[in-house]
């Protein structure tokens, strides 16, 4: 039962991403062609609200469910892995028109061919795990 809250957050996330059209292949294409403000508006307001939320939490006005300090874990230092990995992901994002969250959400909307993409993405992650030590980070 402790998972019910995560299931509800997931359902809410899925609904929001469909209703916002952020799962639309066309919206991603439009964004990368600079032909629409829509996706920039979504990401921009999400980040603006996120910054506001985290700044308020930082001041100690908001606490987690167990009463502890709220913060996003610090990312490891680095440059190469973020720029190279990010670029590789970006190529896939614009081709499939979906990032990892929408891959699952689209499956729920009835795009069953996403199963192929998800399987390939799991395999891509596996390849990274195997090659990790040989790659520049």
């Amino acid at each position: 039962m402790k998972f019910i809250k995560f299931l509800l957050v997931g359902i809410f996330f899925g609904i929001v991403l469909v209703k916002s059209e952020a799962v639309s292949w066309y919206r991603i294409y439009e964004m990368f062609r600079f032909q629409s403000f829509h996706m920039y508006g979504i990401i921009g307001t999400a980040v603006a609200c996120g910054i506001l939320f985290l700044q308020i939490s930082k001041k100690g006005y908001l606490k987690s469910i167990k009463g502890s300090f709220i913060s996003v874990p610090k990312k490891e230092d680095g440059f190469k892995k973020y720029i190279i990995g990010g670029t590789i992901f970006g190529l896939g994002w614009a081709l499939i028109g979906a990032c990892p969250g929408p891959l699952y959400i689209l499956l729920g909307t009835g795009v069953y061919s996403m199963i192929i993409v998800i399987a390939a993405a799991i395999f891509g992650t596996f390849i990274y795990g195997v090659l990790k030590d040989k790659l520049p980070h």
Partner: protein, 185 residues
Amino acid sequence: MEYILNPWPWYVSGPLIALVMALLLYFEKTFGMSSNLKTLCAIGGAGKFSNFFKFNWKEKTWNLTVVLGAIIGGYIAVHFLSNGSGTDLNPETVIELQHMGFENSGATLVPDEMFNFEAVKSLKGLSLLIIGGLLVGFGTRYADGCTSGHAIAGLSSLQKPSLVAVIGFFVGGLIMANLILPLIF
């Protein structure tokens, strides 16, 4: 009710996505969808091939539950919270895509030309989905995050590595949409 059934404007959607991140932080978890791919590898026994996958995946089942919810959410949104109105794309985008062979742009969430059964049966169609999936899975793990972990959670917490990753996302996306897609279609 019409407000809910119609597509939601960006200024409503963005703050609601931030709310998803905030809720997960409130439950002492971090917003990050690509991590699930790593968890699924670990469940499948990838730990036998690389230490990268040797971790207690049972601690990550909360995130798989979010994924299950997201699938259900997608189903609910399309079947109960939509009125079938298509995506209001830039007319320029629609014409451009038409020249590339995409009909009825915006009528559905994804182009039939890439994702329907006919497309998947063709070698080209199947290859594109597999290549795209591989790039997403490999790239997100290499960059240690995707749109949720870096663009939303990372930028919201003002972290430089996330900014670098997001710049990477855009470099890749711009190359694909502007240079490679026109060669494929």
